[in-house]
C-alpha cells in the first residue's frame, strides 16, 4: 500500500481532479474536490449531512450521469472534473438492494457470466458466512444477513474499487460490530481500494487506513489512521483520533454526535 497516496499517481486506483457537482438549485455540492486513492487503500469519508459524501460516491460509481461536457444526460446533477476509476467497480448501498424475487445465490451472481459463475457465487456466500442459505429468499434473512449477501455480490466481481454508501447505517450496534470485522477480513483477503461513506466516526477509525472529512465541497481534513493491531475504542490513542475528527466535523471536545443522524 502506498504510504503517500498523492505520490503514486500512475498506480492510483482512484484519481479525482477538480471535481464540481451541483444540483438543479445551483447550490454547489462539490467545488473543486481532489482525491487520490491508492490500490488496496481503505478510505473512509466523513461529513455532515448534505456535505456531498453521497454525491462524491455517486460520481465515482457513474450513477449521476454527468457526461464529459458537464451536462447531465437525464439525471439532475451537473458539473465538471476528471474522474479516473478502475475497470471493476462495485457498489454496496445502505439498503442491501437485493432483488426480492430472486433467491440469495441468484442475487449474488446477478449479471455474472461464464460457467463458473454459480460456483464463485457459492464461494462468495461462504466467505461472508452464509453457506447453505443459497436457496433462501431475501425476505427470509435478517438485515445483517441481507447486507452480507450484498457484500458477497460486490466481492464476487473481484472489484478493484469498492464503494460503500453507509453500508451498516441501518444495522443495530451489535451486528454492525460483527460486520466491521467481516469487512476488514474481506479487505485483507481481496485488497480492493475502498471508499466508505459513513457518519459513524468510530466506524471510520476502526476500518480505514485514512479518514477524510468533507466540508464545503472539498476534503477539509485528512487523517491517516496509524493505530496498529486491533483498533480498540477504549484505547487512548483511538480516543485522541476520535476527538480530532469530531473537532473537524465541528463538534468540539468529542461531544456526542447528534448532528448527523
Amino acid at each position: 500500500m502506498a504510504a503517500h497516496p498523492g505520490g503514486l499517481t500512475a498506480a492510483a486506483a482512484v484519481q479525482i481532479r477538480d471535481l464540481h457537482r451541483s444540483f438543479t438549485d445551483d447550490r454547489p455540492v462539490l467545488s473543486g474536490l481532489d482525491l487520490t486513492i491508492a490500490p488496496g487503500e481503505f478510505v473512509a469519508l466523513l461529513g455532515r449531512s448534505g456535505s456531498g459524501k453521497s454525491t462524491l460516491l455517486r460520481a465515482l460509481a457513474g450513477l449521476d450521469r454527468v457526461a464529459k461536457d458537464g451536462n447531465s444526460k437525464d439525471g439532475d446533477a451537473s458539473g465538471s472534473g476528471d474522474v479516473t476509476v478502475p475497470e471493476q467497480v462495485s457498489v454496496v448501498f445502505q439498503d442491501s438492494r437485493l432483488l426480492p424475487w430472486q433467491r440469495v445465490l441468484r442475487n449474488v451472481v446477478l449479471g455474472l457470466q461464464g460457467p463458473g459463475a454459480l460456483r464463485r457465487g457459492k464461494e462468495a456466500l461462504a466467505e461472508v458466512g452464509l453457506a447453505g442459505r443459497e436457496r433462501a429468499w431475501p425476505r427470509e434473512l435478517s438485515g445483517g444477513e441481507q447486507q452480507r449477501v450484498a457484500l458477497a455480490r460486490s466481492l464476487v466481481r473481484e472489484p478493484e474499487l469498492l464503494l460503500a454508501d453507509e453500508p451498516f447505517g441501518a444495522l443495530d450496534a451489535l451486528t454492525r460490530i460483527k460486520m466491521h470485522g467481516l469487512l476488514r477480513a474481506l479487505h485483507e483477503r481481496h485488497r480492493p481500494a475502498v471508499l466508505l461513506v459513513t457518519h459513524d466516526v468510530d466506524e471510520a477509525i476502526v476500518l480505514a487506513d485514512r479518514v477524510l472529512v468533507l466540508e464545503g465541497g472539498v476534503v477539509k481534513t485528512e487523517r491517516r489512521i496509524d493505530l496498529d493491531g486491533t483498533r480498540d475504542p477504549s484505547d487512548p490513542r483511538f480516543a485522541a483520533v476520535r476527538t480530532e475528527l469530531l473537532a473537524a466535523l465541528g463538534l468540539a471536545g468529542g461531544a456526542e454526535i447528534k448532528e448527523n443522524p
Partner: protein, 290 residues
C-alpha cells in the same frame, strides 16, 4: 428483579405477562385482541361463495320458491346437460368455444405483453403505444363488432381477433403499471452491476412486473369468456353461445341455464388456475394474501 418476583409470590393459575409469556411459548396474543389483516388462508375457500349460491338455488327450487319457468331447477339443468352431452350436441360446441377462448387469450396476452414492454421500457414506445391502447380501452368490443365483421368476415378469425382485443387491454394496463412501479433503485443497481439490457429485462423488469401481469391475467381470462359470449351470440353457427341463442328462440330455459352454468364453471376454473399460478410464482412475496 428476582426480589420482586419472590415478593409477588404469584399463584400458578395467574397467566404470566409479556416477555415471560413469549418465553413460555404460549399464545403471545392477549385474549380479546384480534390480529389485524385477514388471517390465515382457508383451504379451498374460493369455493365457499359459489357453493353457497348453489345451495340457495337448490333449496329455493326444492321448496318451490323459484318458478321453474323463470329459473330451472338444478337437477333439471343437470339432466338437460347430460342429455345434451349424450346426444352429442354439447361436446363439439364446448370444444369450439374452448378453442376460441384459448386462441383469443393466447394472442391477446402476447400482444398485450409486447405492447406493455415496448411502452414501459422506452419513452418513445410509450408515446406511440399508450394513446391508442387507452383509446381502444374506451371503445367497447361490442361497438367494434360491426367493423370487425366487415374486415374479417364471420369466420373464426374475426372471433379470435375480437377476443384478443378484449384480452389485450387488461394485460397491457396491469403489466405496464407493474413495470413502472418497479423500484428505480433496482435500475441503479443494475447499472452498477453493468447488467446487459437483455439481462435487465429478464432478471429485473419481467419478474418485477409479474405481480401486475398476473393481476391483468385474472381480468384477461374473465374478459376472454365475456368476449366469447358476445361473438358467439352475434354471428355464430356453433359454440355454447350459439346453443343458448337457439334455446332462447325455442324457450328452452334449461338449455340456457346449462350454457350459463358452463360459462360460470369455465370462468371460475380458469380464474382458479391463474390464482394458483399467482401463488406459486409470487412465493417470494409476503403480503396480506398469505
Amino acid at each position: 428483579m428476582t426480589d420482586l418476583k419472590a415478593a409477588t409470590a404469584r399463584p400458578v393459575v395467574v397467566p404470566p405477562v409479556d416477555d415471560e409469556e413469549l418465553a413460555a411459548g404460549r399464545a403471545s396474543r392477549p385474549r380479546g385482541r384480534r390480529r389485524l389483516g385477514p388471517g390465515r388462508p382457508i383451504r379451498l375457500g374460493f369455493l365457499i361463495g359459489p357453493l353457497l349460491l348453489l345451495g340457495v338455488w337448490i333449496w329455493g327450487s326444492a321448496a318451490g320458491w323459484i318458478d321453474p319457468r323463470v329459473l330451472t331447477a338444478p337437477w333439471t339443468v343437470a339432466a338437460t346437460a347430460w342429455d345434451l352431452w349424450e346426444s352429442g350436441r354439447l361436446g363439439p360446441d364446448l370444444l369450439v368455444s374452448a378453442r376460441r377462448f384459448a386462441l383469443g387469450l393466447a394472442f391477446g396476452v402476447a400482444a398485450g405483453l409486447v405492447l406493455a414492454l415496448v411502452s414501459g421500457l422506452s419513452r418513445w414506445g410509450e408515446a406511440i403505444v399508450d394513446g391508442p391502447v387507452q383509446i381502444k380501452r374506451s371503445i367497447p368490443n361490442l361497438a367494434l363488432l360491426p367493423l370487425l365483421l366487415l374486415w374479417f368476415g364471420i369466420d373464426e378469425r374475426m372471433k379470435i381477433i375480437t377476443i384478443a382485443l378484449g384480452v389485450l387491454i387488461p394485460i397491457y394496463i396491469h403489466t405496464h403499471n407493474g413495470l413502472r412501479s418497479i423500484d428505480g433503485r433496482y435500475a441503479e443497481l443494475a447499472e452498477t452491476l453493468r447488467l446487459r439490457p437483455a439481462a435487465f429485462v429478464g432478471r429485473v423488469v419481467l419478474p418485477g412486473a409479474l405481480p401486475g401481469f398476473l393481476l391483468g391475467m385474472r381480468f384477461a381470462v374473465t374478459s376472454s369468456w365475456l368476449s366469447l359470449v358476445v361473438v358467439e351470440q352475434v354471428n355464430a353457427t356453433s359454440g355454447i353461445g350459439y346453443m343458448m341463442l337457439l334455446a332462447g328462440t325455442y324457450g328452452q330455459t334449461d338449455v340456457i341455464i346449462v350454457g350459463l352454468v358452463l360459462y360460470a364453471l369455465l370462468g371460475l376454473a380458469s380464474d382458479s388456475i391463474v390464482r394458483l399460478v399467482q401463488r406459486r410464482a409470487l412465493s417470494w412475496r409476503r403480503t396480506l394474501e398469505d
